[in-house]
């Protein structure tokens, strides 16, 4: 929707301002709030980027712009806890652990993948570097707003810092020639070594008894790990095999860092251990087992097994491993294999928000939360359902009836080529 937004800005600037000032009322839809049940013939009231009210029989304030969405489904914008859209990159090949590297310094917000994610109903994504390192860098939590810079998309913490986690991995992807580890034991040892070093560094940096000039010199890598050890930055840990999953739990316990397990292909084998550790799991839906040795025991039933064990569960796209436009499908296949509908919907929204520490702002349709929502033409877990509109903070970022948005939604000539967006912008005279 980037281009349409630019065009609107150029021609209809006053109208855009009005749209921001006036409340928007979405009426007549079935609203899946996630936290407050499902509301038939409900109204969602949006004002200045926030949800002002949600429910049935809500008074529509004078001056509100009314959107009749009768027969449609409204639900929260989807939260993708693990995505690689935006041509993201992190650590280079020089070392296996690089906590100083930031994903935000690599992202191309004009990348077609971001517009396809909007088309899939994703409004928040944890955009991460890859899994070829034990620690490949700082991730960034993005709102998929229409914007020209990564700063415009980045989610801010209350102190103004850009929100994100820390990407780690174990198992086979991060095993290679030195200085990378050649075994699982070495992988864990290298990680422990850095966290031990960080414990000492962070302690000295923050110790009021040590004079400022005696404290260790600023070290970006150590600073990154300090944010992990303090709990400010959650570790997002790629892990597949049951023993690797348990290793993550062991390291998290030793150093007290907060962690979300990602992929978790063999999570069904250690569901009780994961539950006991109170560690959340963000899983991926892959249509067949194998393709790599760590995933030979992958099962559609993992979601249901983790749910039964009491593990906080989310799905993710791992885009481009699965397509952001088919994110709803991932949880629906989980339902096919025994997951409850309620958990499936939360696993696409609220549970992901909790894993990113963003639950107070996103993940459900509640008064006071960000007005991030999607309009669907049917049940979210049906193959036939389409995302019609995606709204982020009260702004429409995807509209299936818009020709360019439609191109990104279904594909076609130019859909894979992010530069088309730039060319369009030049034609609009906006750049």
């Amino acid at each position: 929707m980037r281009i349409a937004a630019w065009a609107t800005a150029a021609v209809l600037l006053p109208a855009t301002l009005v749209a921001q000032e006036n409340p928007h009322a979405f009426t007549g839809a079935r609203i899946l709030t996630i936290t407050g049940g499902e509301i038939e013939n409900g109204t969602l009231l949006v004002h200045r980027g926030k949800i002002a009210a949600v429910g049935s029989g809500i008074a529509i304030p004078p001056g509100a712009i009314v959107h009749d969405v009768a027969g449609r489904i409204l639900m929260p914008g989807l939260v993708d806890t693990h995505s690689h859209v935006g041509q993201v990159a992190g650590a280079d090949g020089s070392a296996p652990i690089q906590p100083e590297v930031r994903a935000l310094d690599s992202i191309n917000v004009r990348h077609a993948g971001i517009q396809k994610a909007q088309a899939g109903g994703i409004t928040t994504a944890n955009v991460m570097p890859g899994s070829g390192h034990l620690l490949s860098g700082q991730t960034v939590y993005l709102k998929l707003r229409d914007g020209s810079t990564v700063e415009e998309l980045a989610i801010r913490l209350p102190d103004g810092a850009i929100a994100g986690g820390m990407k780690m991995a174990n198992g086979t992807n991060s095993r290679k020639d030195p200085p990378f580890p050649g075994s699982r034991g070495k992988s864990a040892a290298l990680v422990r070594e850095q966290y031990v070093k960080a414990q000492e560094y962070c302690g000295k940096r923050n110790d009021p008894k040590i004079a400022a000039d005696k404290r260790p010199a600023r070290d970006l890598a150590m600073e990154g790990l300090c944010e992990v050890l303090s709990g400010r930055r959650v570790v997002h840990h790629h892990t597949h095999r049951h023993d690797d999953i348990v290793t993550v739990l062991r390291l998290a316990e030793e150093f007290g860092f907060r962690v979300v397990l990602h992929h978790v292909s063999e999570g069904w084998k250690v569901a009780e251990e994961i539950a006991r550790a109170k560690v959340p799991a963000s899983i991926i839906q892959i249509d067949s087992p194998g393709g790599k040795l760590e995933a030979v025991d992958l099962m559609f039933e993992t979601g249901a097994t983790l749910e039964k064990a009491g593990v906080l569960l989310a799905y993710h796209t791992d885009d481009p491993i699965t397509d952001s436009r088919l994110f709803l499908r991932s949880a629906a296949i989980g339902v096919r294999a025994g997951l409850s509908r309620q958990t499936a919907l939360a696993a696409l929204t609220l549970n992901g928000a909790r894993m990113l520490d963003l639950e107070p702002r996103i993940g459900s349709l509640e008064a006071g939360k960000d007005a991030d929502f999607i309009v669907l033409d049917g049940d979210p877990l049906s193959v036939y359902t389409k995302v019609l509109e995606t709204w982020v903070e009260g702004e429409k970022v995807f509209d299936r009836t818009d020709p360019l948005d439609h191109l990104f939604a279904v594909g076609g000539y130019g859909a894979g080529h992010d530069s088309i967006a730039n060319e369009e912008l030049e034609m609009e005279g906006s750049r």
Binding site: D287, G290, G291, K308, G412, G416
Partner: protein, 420 residues
């Protein structure tokens, strides 16, 4: 002593492992004709693909073949026949192009036989010499209703080898095979270029190599048929395989995605008057008129294939565009180098059905239309008297995400009863 918690966990493990056990066991427990091959199926809706769906239909299979099919009121179940019931029944699914059985799920060098890189053209490589009937991915596809696969050498070389058609059963290739030589697999475009300093290094070189080989094969077959017995050229497996293409016996399966590569394949078909089947065809929507005029069928890429490189412009709607243009097409699981190691045509057809393709056309793309393109529609692809008793049972709309495959029957033998 076992604690309650341990018991619970053991149960979870057993339940989970049962899925895999089912896949493994059915692979070895269905040795050809040694099992009962007679049974009947009654379903609320039977999609025969040979006419309108039958409400409350019955399919009677005797000795592996369909003996009768029709409304339950007029189609009695013979005494002593086992009766399976379902909400929906369809023909066994036909995966129009796969590499499963040559490509294994471990994705290690020892189980990847779909591509031999020692030379750009090796049409003599037979799929039957490489197919592993007990590969778990074969069982995986079977559990989702796929009963017939067209599999073999994959994309990645100018001519990678032969393909075959198999039923997803049996513990040996001989028990599985339907047609040992189905097509010769070739590939034009960037994914079949050789490494630096080797040929083919460009699209034009690919075509010149392929044309030269076909001309050599033409001369070879002329010598074989025309010359006296004493002057026959020595037997050449490579040229023999290409001669079979020139003779019109074996189609050339050409994997192409960019529009210009699709047109190259059509140019080749016209020059040598050979049967070409387009495979992949991501940009087919740009050259629909040309494909239709050439009378060439398309085995379209999986709907959910990743959109990058030469497939960056693929569209969920291409299947519906082909249908509207009147071009015969089928859907495939395709080749995947990573995860998922195979796709499942049932799921791919569902995405096509959600993007403009009518339900019946989407189902045909993985049953009868696929069987027609593969030349096996006399045996599979529809539920008709005399055809193989290959049936899939569902508990709802086959394409819905939350519907389950509840049974799979191959030639009257129940090969999967797990709810998948």
């Amino acid at each position: 002593m076992t604690t309650g918690k341990q018991t619970k966990r053991a149960f979870t493990l057993v339940a989970a492992l049962a899925t895999f056990a089912t896949l493994a066991v059915t692979a070895v427990a269905t040795p050809g004709a040694a099992r009962a091959q007679s049974l009947a199926i009654r379903a609320g809706t039977v999609h025969t693909m040979a006419g309108p769906p039958i409400a409350d239909g019955v399919i009677v299979i005797r000795d592996g073949r369909i003996e009768s099919i029709g409304p339950s009121a007029s189609t009695p179940v013979p005494a002593g026949f086992r009766l399976l019931t379902a909400t929906v029944a369809t023909p066994g699914l036909v995966d129009a192009h796969s590499v499963v059985g040559l490509a294994g799920y471990l994705n290690q060098p020892h189980d990847q036989d779909q591509l031999e890189r020692s030379a750009p053209m090796q049409p003599q490589l037979r799929a039957i010499d490489a197919y592993n009937a007990q590969e778990p991915l074969v069982g995986w596809l079977r559990s989702f209703g796929v009963t017939t696969i067209h599999t073999g050498h994959g994309p990645g070389a100018l001519v990678s080898g032969q393909t075959m058609i198999a039923k997803t059963r049996g513990s040996t290739v001989d028990e599985a095979v339907v047609q040992p030589l189905a097509m010769i697999a070739s590939n034009l475009g960037p994914s079949a270029l050789a490494e630096k300093e080797k040929s083919p290094g460009t699209r034009a070189k690919q075509m010149s190599l392929l044309r030269s080989a076909l001309i050599r094969a033409d001369e070879y077959r002329k010598k074989v048929t025309a010359a006296g017995a004493a002057e026959k050229p020595p037997r050449d497996l490579e040229l023999e395989a290409l001669a079979s293409v020139l003779d019109g016996k074996t189609p050339l399966l050409v994997t192409v995605n960019r529009a210009q590569d699709i047109l190259s394949a059509l140019r080749l078909a016209a020059e040598f008057r050979i049967r070409v089947v387009l495979d992949g065809a991501a940009e087919a929507y740009l050259v629909l008129d040309e494909i239709r005029a050439a009378g060439v069928p398309v085995i379209l890429h999986p709907s959910m294939a990743r959109a990058f490189d030469e497939r960056e412009n693929l569209s969920f709607e291409t299947a519906s565009r082909l249908e509207a243009a009147g071009i015969p097409f089928a859907l495939q699981s395709g080749y995947e180098s990573y995860v998922p190691k195979t796709r499942v045509v049932l799921f791919e057809a569902g995405i096509a059905a959600a993007n403009g393709l009518e339900f019946a056309d989407a189902l045909a793309a993985i049953t009868l239309d696929a069987a027609k393109i593969l030349g096996v529609a006399d045996r599979v692809g529809s539920l008709e008297r005399g055809k193989d008793g290959d049936v899939v049972l569902f508990d709802g709309d086959p394409f819905e995400y939350a519907t389950h495959v509840t049974g799979v029957v191959i030639e009257g033998v129940v090969v999967s009863e797990a709810s998948r």
